[in-house]
Amino acid sequence: MFIEIKKKLKLYNMKVGLFIPCYINQLYPQVGKATLELLEKLNVDVVYPSGQTCCGQPMANSGYENESVGACNNFVKNFNEFDYIVTPSGSCAYHVKKHFDVIPQTDEVTKVRNNVYELCDFILNVLKIKDVGARFPHKVGIHKSCHGLRGLRLGSCSEKVTPEYSYIGELLAEVSGVEIITLNREDECCGFGGTFAVVEEAISVKMGKDRVQDHLDNGAEVITATDTSCLMHLEGLITRHMQPLKVLHIAEILNSVN
């Protein structure tokens, strides 16, 4: 009991900032809501700074790092006071960690880069919670978004010879009623890739179609991931081709009770 209380007190003491990526803010607010509600359910005192926009990734990955400087500075301005910055995106967290050397490395910048966490990583490794008390009685396929997987190492990847683990998988496995399906290709890219989706339209679409088909072939009802960007791309194909699949961000499943 004492440990429980101490743990909770510690949680209350830490300042946690919620980073909602630009496209989630505008196009998938339900993912942001689910993330916030989930963290609150887990007794995290979480603050959403409303002056935030974007991590700068769209410009930087397109080769225009210089144009991302304003976004980077705005990000640091909004988040430098937090002990933890939590975001429902492996890709954006990775960008802050890996590519923010485009701006001078002040203490604030270093702090922000060190403190940013992808949501599943935060729940599992900072809060040390595995079972978030969710219920989701469906067949779910996990799309292991690349930047989280191979950038942040949120799980083992099929290329490397390391012990197997997956943060998203560990959390999902505790959700009551869920059936995690096995895919033929466990961690192949979906083909989103930011502006790649437009610059290399043909390949991007083909990769997405193959990823969707792998889920259909293995009986998935839902594709989930740590990144809504991958899911937006896959959903775009699923909707256009009227396929019997749904996409849900992992936060939406973990926040689910029915």
């Binding site: 607010p29 080769g63 339209e201 256009r240």
Partner: protein
Amino acid sequence: MNHSEAATIFNKNEKKVNWHDKALWFVRHKRDKSAHSVEGWEELRNLGQGIKAHTLSNLDNYLIQFEENALKNGVQVHWAQDGDEHNRIVHSILKEHNAKKVVKSKSMLTEECHLNPYLEADGIEIIDTDLGERIVQLAKETPSHIVLPAIHKTKEEVDELFQEHLGTKPCGGDPQYLTGEARKHLREKFVNADAAITGVNFAIADTGGFVVCTNEGNADMGAHLAPVHIACMGIEKIIPKQEHLGVFLRLLARSATGQHITTYSSHFKKPRKGTKMHIVIVDNGRTEQLSRPDFRASLQCIRCGACMNTCPIYRRSGGHSYDATIPGPIGSILSPGKDLTKHSSLPFASTLCGSCSDVCPVKIDIHTQLYKWRQIITKETKQPYVKVMSMKMMGDIFSKPTKFEKVGKVARWSLRNLPKGIINSKPNVWGKERDLPSGPVESFDEWYKNRK
């Protein structure tokens, strides 16, 4: 033609794309099984990377040591600054020996230097003896993969090609029959060759010897029959010691095809009695790449092709879409160093998924280098006006929170209210095959503010 245009053409035949993707995924899967059966695989990769990085930092010394030892062994050593000089050297050696018929085992370096057309222009017959290379040579094409040069061809296509060039009978693409015929054809070339050219997989500084890896034994067949052996190597093929082979031979075959070792790992050291052995050491842009701190690690490459097999873009666009001697992820970080404008689309032919870096046996940070080439390309080559302006606009919007909210509001309204026909009309490339999400009434930001 840039990569995207070539890839779009390749994707017109979805069946072939599926076949190409599956064929290469099969190789990648074999590699996984083979790598995962080695305890300490990651340690082996660390060693491979360490030895290569050390060698690159001491390249001058090791090359000189190699030359000294090779000379002691009775091998003649030549230095070529670029592809032209390489070709001239090879040509002059052949002329000196009055060699008219030449057999050549696989060498990406001689592809890079365009040796074949150079020699053919002087009436020299040069036959590629690796089966895959012979197939693309007959088809007057270039290799589409560095380990599997003819992976873009189906066995039925090879059947037709052999009928035309080797006079074989139609066989419905029977691999047994076709390889048997190729063997007969190549045996005749081996027996009559005046000289043999091979590549070099590893050149060992402290012995002056070198190793050529093949699965078909074609390097040996050539070098052991012909009176002259010319081995062509890039300066980065050096390793310091014989004992380092234990690291690289294990990494190479497993990464390339999933084999424990290549069928033939042939060690050459000195010429046989009455024969000549030459080594041509080539720079051709490598020292320039070595001078670029962000990109020098690309020279650690041992040409296993694993990054191609794993690359989801390569598998679905084919090697020829890269229009470069070395295609795929590793080619996309090597080629811009040679001709930035010609190869400016290659670093963008990636989602930066990072699979290439994790599969690489010598741990080249390929996807990080792709990102870095992008930053250089947008500065140093001409970019479409629309791209430059839209990046500027986005940069501006994302640095101003109020502007971001306003633009977001308009975008969401448009997605909600405009007819799909307009949203998905031509300028929106995304909409060609994908729907956009329907615009929500409230952004997260608005919802959060109203919540309290």
